[in-house]
Symmetry: C2
């Protein structure tokens, strides 16, 4: 018996466990620096007018047990002039696979995207993860091979920021 | 004389012109469906507690004339437990190139990312755009070749959403 519901602050320990399990599946078991306090602050702010909400999450339960989750944030397409949904994480615990839970989560986030007038629903997949690539193609997704992702993090980000010599004029 | 400032609602016509010029540069001159009303609604909401702000933008002026812009939104890294900045658009008008305006915009957004505790500063580049790829590498960015971007849009998105049979339980 599958239930999908929006995550609550009480789900933070489960969300962090899902994030860690997904990182291990992605062959980066030590990559997760996030803490429960981080997820509580960024996903469940007490006052959104002061602290923006940085992500949204759905929890899938199977017979009342947390079985998987989806976590997303809102992107923006300047071509469409519309917000979009970027699915950061989608994960189903191994013991709950084969029950359609991943598809239920993916289609639910798609339905949220449509109901909110989003132009795009996007995510990323690791290039060796052929089962997931096949699944996403079946679901109607296409690959964007002409676009390369670039990233600056850590010390390189601080070095880049330090090259900024132009003040922001706010008058 | 270069000035950088946050965009205001009065900049919307300039922003739309920049978006169209950038789309033409990206060999997709007819891809821009966005209107001034879209950008006003999504970038400059009257009450953010009711209508979330979907993007942020900086305007670069050269001797008081709009010369370029950067447009970004906030992403989320579940590994880092931190928000990040995704740079959707960076553009400098051809007649203003070679003056360091693109670098000024890029480093300014990096400085904003650092000042706001972002773990990542990311963007995408077209695979044939070698001058930009070289520039970004010089700036300390690295490519994420193992991650493939996937996307569902338009009719495929509606078809995916229509497969959603699981109600969201909100109690």
């Amino acid at each position: 018996m599958l239930t999908l519901r929006p995550a609550t602050p009480q789900d933070v320990p489960h969300i962090l466990a899902f994030i860690r399990d997904l990182a291990a599946y992605e062959r980066e078991p030590d990559a997760v620096l996030a803490t429960e306090a981080d997820l509580l602050r960024d996903g469940f702010p007490a006052d959104e007018s002061k602290t923006p909400r940085r992500f949204h999450s759905l929890i899938a339960e199977w017979n009342g047990e947390p079985a998987g989750f989806a976590l997303y944030f809102y992107s923006y397409s300047t071509w469409e002039g519309r917000t979009g949904i970027y699915l950061e994480d989608l994960f189903v615990r191994p013991e709950y696979r084969g029950k359609g839970i991943g598809k239920a989560l993916l289609t639910k986030v798609a339905a949220i995207a449509v109901s909110e007038g989003c132009a795009r629903f996007e995510w990323s997949v690791l290039d060796w993860n052929q089962p997931s690539i096949d699944f996403y193609h079946q679901m109607g997704a296409v690959m964007k091979p002409e676009w390369l992702g670039m990233r600056v993090t850590g010390e390189a980000l601080h070095k880049l920021a330090a090259q900024c010599v132009t003040e922001l004029v706010t008058k």
